[in-house]
Symmetry: C2
Subunit: 366 residues, 2 copies
């Protein structure tokens, strides 16, 4: 079985091997600082007694789970701390596919490429619902695609790659559809701290035993390499998810969990607001340049990405490589995200060299 | 699907809730110090630029993989750094079961309880081969149990719970059997640095495309909570294993990988020898006490565990709890490891209070 390695890696390797200087706008690694408390907590951890270097509880350090549960308004027993959002989504999708309530996973097009890969790995099949031109997901389109075969509806809000933020009404209707077909709504909300619209609505607000929310500190604390995430399960689904977590990973990494727990506790809202403000400025700078370059583009309501369509320059891997060599800017081909955005390229706004990248695109296409 | 939560957790919870003082000999958490370089490396990491806090390569930090490959005499491309031996065994067993070369996993009895749990989770079925009274696995018994249905033969050497170390001849024959039936020999060698016999032989010495070796730094560097392990795959099997690793976990935790990489590089053989020597002394102390208590017992050739059989005191969960309340010593019931050692209890020699525990057992049984 070959699960399709995401194109990310191929593009990044091409960029690294390029002969010229290339500005990396491929992957969603924040280029801003993590909270100061995180670094302090790592120092503190390094000097703890060695019994603190041994297995944490499988479902996560107690104080971290308590912090998550308090912030999200759920019972601590529903929270499983995972190895990033990656494992959280894996556990959620596995749970949905094991319930013998269908084997089809309903995904959006465009889609975050790991979801279809996980679906195949777990023995399910994919069914795609195209989103609107504005990136919004129409609940009626989801309802029309749902059947007794539907095991899960997997959404991501704020969305990678479209930048859409789904309103409360969409989340409520998705929850209703999931219940009506006894499917599981999996809502990946890893960009929740980067809602630029004020319209973000968590699936946690949907009161349902058919919904799992996944998240991570990778983006919100600017530590994608720490691998600390979590999933919030309904009471009926949490025990088996914990068992799978234990059988796959035993537990997550304790130094990372310790540092995240401390940082979560000690970091105030201004940290998150400063990063959102930086992102807002970058959206303005980058979209203004795309305007100058004569491109069509999206203005994201949330997350890190702008999509652009240049005339006669479809979003293929070949054109992405051409742009690396010709302009010194590495983006992601739209075709990596399904068929609905094949004409587009995606640019991640997480580089301090954003203005330079914008200038290069204007010079190349303008 | 319920995957059977290992009994470990039940026993530990019982011990924690007990009214009296209890000496924990349940789980295999080393109670000795990690290498000094590990703590120093964590401090160093805490002050690195924030780009070093982002995703490491999915298959592990380059310098760590190089260190592992050099020490194990394999190609770096064969090494996948995992979230502990737990994920390494999961990847190895998944790979074996996906090859459409059988769906049966051959395990020893007694067995490390995670292996049967992983087998069920991955859709396989278990077949058990009892080991001899001395804990040795007879290749002929394995051959007799192997068939076209065999997907994997999973062994652990040095062994938990028996303490057996399999000689080179056993490993060679297991490799031959795996090849003859196109099964995968999975050799979990997480206790390799705690070989007390000098007879340990890694499955890496078996030159075969049908063998996967798993390991971790959890025990060797006394950091079970860091979750850094690895698997070494044959060339033909490594690509799909890397894909599964990426789709499940994206990558392992970077601060932990960084610290392990530095510690691996800077820690000399005396660190490991000191810990082995401590373990040797503890084996002597504890088995002498068991002798005084009139018990039958194993003298381990490797790993952390001594098994004991007390008269009219079979290794049930009930008796384990009775021993916690009556003697203040928590062990593991033999029945947790299958049917072959149901009469026995397992004690982990990783407590500084070992002599006290031995005295308590003598007082209780003697």
């Amino acid at each position: 079985m070959n699960y399709e390695t995401p194109l990310f890696f191929q593009v990044m390797q091409y960029a690294v091997r390029a002969e010229r200087d290339v500005i990396d706008m491929v992957s969603g690694n924040p280029d801003w600082e993590p909270p100061a408390a995180l670094r302090e907590a790592l120092h503190e951890y390094a000097d703890l007694e060695s019994d603190r270097f041994q297995y944490p509880p499988s479902e996560g350090l107690r104080e971290l789970r308590e912090g998550i549960a308090a912030r999200r308004g759920v019972d601590e027993g529903q929270v499983v701390v995972t190895n990033g959002a990656g494992e959280a989504n894996y556990l959620a999708m596995a749970r949905a596919l094991e319930r013998e309530s269908g084997s089809e996973v309903l995904l959006t097009d465009p889609v975050y490429p790991y979801y279809p890969g996980k679906t195949s790995m777990l023995g399910g099949s994919q069914r795609f619902v195209p989103v609107g031109e504005d990136g919004q997901l129409e609940p009626e389109a989801v309802r029309a695609a749902t059947s007794e075969e539907t095991a899960a509806i997997v959404v991501n809000t704020p969305n990678n790659p479209t930048g859409a933020v789904y309103p409360a009404e969409t989340m409520r209707e998705l929850g209703e559809i999931a219940e009506a077909y006894d499917a599981i709504l999996v809502s990946d909300e890893v960009y929740d701290h980067y809602d630029l619209s004020g319209e973000f609505s968590s699936a946690l607000e949907v009161d349902s035993g058919n919904r799992i929310v996944t998240n991570a500190f990778s983006k919100s604390l600017a530590i994608t390499g720490f691998r600390v995430g979590y999933a919030i399960f309904p009471e009926e689904l949490v025990a088996d998810a914990k068992s799978r977590h234990m059988l796959v990973n035993v537990a997550g990494s304790r130094p990372a969990q310790y540092a995240v727990s401390r940082a979560l506790h000690e970091t105030g809202p201004e940290y998150y607001e400063t990063n959102r403000e930086l992102l807002r400025e970058r959206v303005d700078t980058f979209t203004a340049a795309l305007e100058d370059a004569g491109a069509e583009y999206t203005r994201p309501d949330g997350a890190f990405y702008v999509m652009a369509r240049f005339e006669d320059f479809p979003g293929t891997l070949e054109n992405t490589e051409r742009l690396i060599d010709g302009a010194g800017v590495a983006g992601m081909p739209g075709e990596a995200f399904g068929s609905a955005r094949e004409e587009w390229l995606r640019f991640a706004l997480v580089t301090p060299r954003l203005e330079e990248a914008a200038d290069r695109l204007v010079a190349y296409f303008g």
